[in-house]
Symmetry: D2
Subunit: 261 residues, 4 copies
Amino acid sequence: MAMAVDLNSDMGEGFGVYALGDDAAMLEIVTSANVACGFHAGDPLIMHRTVELARAKRVAVGAHPGFLDLWGFGRRPIHGDRPDEVGKLVIYQIGALQALATSVGHEVTYVKVHGALANMAAVDDELADGIARAVRQVDRDLIFMVMPGMATERAGERAGLRLAREVYADRTYDDDGNLTSRKKPGAVIHDPELAARRVLRMLEEEAITTVTGAKLPARVDTVCVHGDNPAAVAMARTVRAVLETEGVAIAPFSGAAAAGS
Amino acid sequence: MAMAVDLNSDMGEGFGVYALGDDAAMLEIVTSANVACGFHAGDPLIMHRTVELARAKRVAVGAHPGFLDLWGFGRRPIHGDRPDEVGKLVIYQIGALQALATSVGHEVTYVKVHGALANMAAVDDELADGIARAVRQVDRDLIFMVMPGMATERAGERAGLRLAREVYADRTYDDDGNLTSRKKPGAVIHDPELAARRVLRMLEEEAITTVTGAKLPARVDTVCVHGDNPAAVAMARTVRAVLETEGVAIAPFSGAAAAGS
Amino acid sequence: MAMAVDLNSDMGEGFGVYALGDDAAMLEIVTSANVACGFHAGDPLIMHRTVELARAKRVAVGAHPGFLDLWGFGRRPIHGDRPDEVGKLVIYQIGALQALATSVGHEVTYVKVHGALANMAAVDDELADGIARAVRQVDRDLIFMVMPGMATERAGERAGLRLAREVYADRTYDDDGNLTSRKKPGAVIHDPELAARRVLRMLEEEAITTVTGAKLPARVDTVCVHGDNPAAVAMARTVRAVLETEGVAIAPFSGAAAAGS
Amino acid sequence: MAMAVDLNSDMGEGFGVYALGDDAAMLEIVTSANVACGFHAGDPLIMHRTVELARAKRVAVGAHPGFLDLWGFGRRPIHGDRPDEVGKLVIYQIGALQALATSVGHEVTYVKVHGALANMAAVDDELADGIARAVRQVDRDLIFMVMPGMATERAGERAGLRLAREVYADRTYDDDGNLTSRKKPGAVIHDPELAARRVLRMLEEEAITTVTGAKLPARVDTVCVHGDNPAAVAMARTVRAVLETEGVAIAPFSGAAAAGS
């Protein structure tokens, strides 16, 4: 059986003089770049540079909108905005990246929500709907990157969006399909080889194995890897190498996702 | 002779809980709305509400990008960015507004630079080129709103953009075509009737009369009026009334500008 | 029986060109000004102007620190910071106001936490401790303004701070001593005369009457009134007038609070 | 002859998740830490950590206020604020750091203006006066760190402040006492040994030798070194080592400056 999967990573997460992560290295490894859009990280110059580099490396570009919270890097849950209001935040950020992508001859093909906003939307159907509708209002051809089984997936389906189902290479899963809290021991996988084998198994089984051993059927279109420190980059490289060695093609998800939805 | 002109005004200049200007009143008066894009003023919710209202009132929408300076409302000259870097700021802001306009079924048809950035670009050919090229990189059909005779007009022409030439209803002009400094006595016109007559004359003569009495040939596509206080709204209303009484049609500039460039 | 009470109001809540509330009117009514410190509202120029005016009007000045969330005006709960981290936010804001007060010959005598941060601290002992300890670390003579019966009062007592117990003129109370949610009908009192009578009763009974009719013993040192719209200013004026007519002296709480703790 | 000099370095220049510079290394080398105050860099948590570390290392702490421009790191000249308005920015930032220093049992003993604001103030007597008066309004015992011969030094003298005269280890000087523009070849010295020798000579001659060979009499109380990259840290270490080898004591300037003014 021929298998293919996309690898995605967060990028462009600096701000002004501040740098974060090794984007150049990651653009050699992944096939999709989640680009910060200026609210939790990123700025127009960094976004421009990132999409330009992604274009040169033939890496797909997605908007990675987050809360307006540079100080907290979008990792702090902020309550009190209505789902449709959050939708406007998302629209703004997508549009900003689209224009910058256009300016260098590239294109935004997908949207993946960032940080605390993503965590909140994964378990809140109304919030997830607000976001999915917002994506659709910008461009119904945008692919919505979601965690299989979570509220964002359901919202994307309700909004009629094409979906890219994502798993994390370095995280374990609870029985509800959500990531095990980082506070629990073992929730984060540090062994690159083990992470790679887990991903391979998810692809082969078309299921996520949870911490209790349960299997959640899940089509996997893309695997999230990180680049914010040298160990993360090394893990990403190993995941890619193992997958390729095992005959899995690494390629952007756009087509696959389109076909499947 | 049949004459027509557009009226434009800055809008959407609030932020969060803060309101500024009487947008609802101005949308009854003008035919083009310059919408703040979140850097010197404006936020995603206000931008959304403004483009939605503009659509309902059949008012054209333009991006009104400025410096990243909410505290200074974009009125403080900030030096040290290269023209192409400023261009990225402009692209980001245009894109953000485009997506919000798209989400409500409206469209961004023009770009007018705001505040200190506009003042700097009016007298700096390199900066103006950086901005004009940025506009073109986003969408070559965007109309660039400029002051006749200034660096922005020349840059727009070099970039091959369609132009909308703008005059101010309530300001006098120096011989170089620039606005007389607000610090000089008489630089700001407070009498609505007088302001209206001056605009009428500029339209009839196709020229700007400067403070020394010189005439600068200038095609006038649009007239800038303000809405940030009740007196300004009253002046805008008078300018429109006088123009209409004198047989000038008030209509968006898009077509006219297209034909003329 | 001779009674005295302080009236406090939020002030200095503009930012840059944005204005909010009628501070000049409120400074004629209240005896204590809660000054926004630049995180949820306020900026150095506005803070300076506010403390200068307060000094001229012999109004006491308190720091009114909030979340770093200008866009949400500090009204959105932001989770994820540890109590001691929130404490640093508070220290920063107090210090900024202290220096501006010093520069005009005035003095910060108290601290009242703003908005969502206040709401969260009212029901979270650990967060309240983080804030109370922070206040004490800056200056143990600072008075901590709290709602009687809530976590902030307990934290202030644990930290050994002098306290000013506060009630709201225009809000009803639940049996747990917290404000009734604004979403419930009747939670906000709009009749100035009624509001004034309720305050008078709380002062006379030394108790808060809740929505169920229960009485919560509560010493009242200060009454919060608002100035963000003309109706609010009118209510504040009425509350003061009724209290004075009934023989209640309106005076800063500093001394009284010191004696009582 | 016994000589002593202070070494100072900018610190606490991160923001949120962003780190910048090797503060831990620099706190082993310098005797004074210029702490960013949250406008161009820094935040309450970083400021707290920095003053706490400085206290543990017995390093003096100064406020390092800059423009409200995180994106530009305070390096972009921003025009349009009056000198007294800039003064309020400075007061706010000093106060914020003072309170954080107080909270850990340390103390702010001096003020050094950052980046573009420092460059502008060095050649603008009115702006320099606005800043010097602001420093004095907060606390007349604060020492004002200035470049000898520039407007800030004159303003500090007019304001009756104690001064700490500063030279840069890695920069050449023009005949007007200002730093040679970084754009000119040779303006930045990269050889640590050469930088150290230049400092030693300035201390011995009590004069700055300019690029034309002219000697500007200048008492040197402190030497600025950098820590934003490994090479900078290495240079700082060499400067200190050479000075100590040559018999120059490295010690905070507070006393010396007090005596001399």
